[in-house]
Symmetry: C2
Subunit: 154 residues, 2 copies
Amino acid sequence: MKRLNKIINILKEKELSLSLAESCSGGYTCYLMTEIPGSSKVFKGGMILYSLESKNKLLKIPWALLKKTQGVSAKVAGLLARKIRKKFNSDIGAALVGFAGPKSKNKVPVGTVFLSVNYKNKTETKKIILKGPRNKIQKEASYLLLELINDKIK
Amino acid sequence: MKRLNKIINILKEKELSLSLAESCSGGYTCYLMTEIPGSSKVFKGGMILYSLESKNKLLKIPWALLKKTQGVSAKVAGLLARKIRKKFNSDIGAALVGFAGPKSKNKVPVGTVFLSVNYKNKTETKKIILKGPRNKIQKEASYLLLELINDKIK
């Protein structure tokens, strides 16, 4: 909760708005942003793009890239961060894709997650590998995305 | 968890796909849908439309209606359910809007939530009033939306 208050306060102080695109975390990062009263001043909203089809249809991620990567790659995360920012017209766009398990695809290990932040026309993407059961991976990845946003704006 | 398994199993058995639009619950319903492995077979994704602007821009909810209701009304919930279904091209669209607190607007009490399900070209909307702190209201409303979906498809 402290971690969350901190990032929301920094966004408020700097008057920056945020939007999020999530895949394997299923909306948990968005939920975290709304858990604290007053977040509506900075959080515009987000999209949960759980299927490849939805990533292609709603944020125009190229189909060939999605098929090749099954939606989990640094490039997909970066594109989602940039495109969600434009869609919501926010100052910051951030995205999270990965395999939360129990199965993965493309021989990429379960727990592999790509986090990406687009801010001031720059995109920074980070690969992390998490351990544990599915919902632990989803929650931890969400917190780490908020921390990455924090690092980029402070 | 049992409640969740049940609804996902019914969707799977009937081969029905679902998409969700959320406001005050901030993505918690989407997260619940992804907490259980295998949900990607039925859950296409969703949108968290936390600001009035995003409801208008992304799902074309009329601005006059949003200003008048501050985004919290049966009509807004119904429109969101119908429009999210079309956006994701899913069999079922469902939506949740409300005031999770600590403040409300338009003299509508905190804890007022509208749940809506669009399925087979029919929209059913339900008003509920929940008590408790903000995150209890967000979580309980999310479970009740999944139960309403369950009722409509079984």
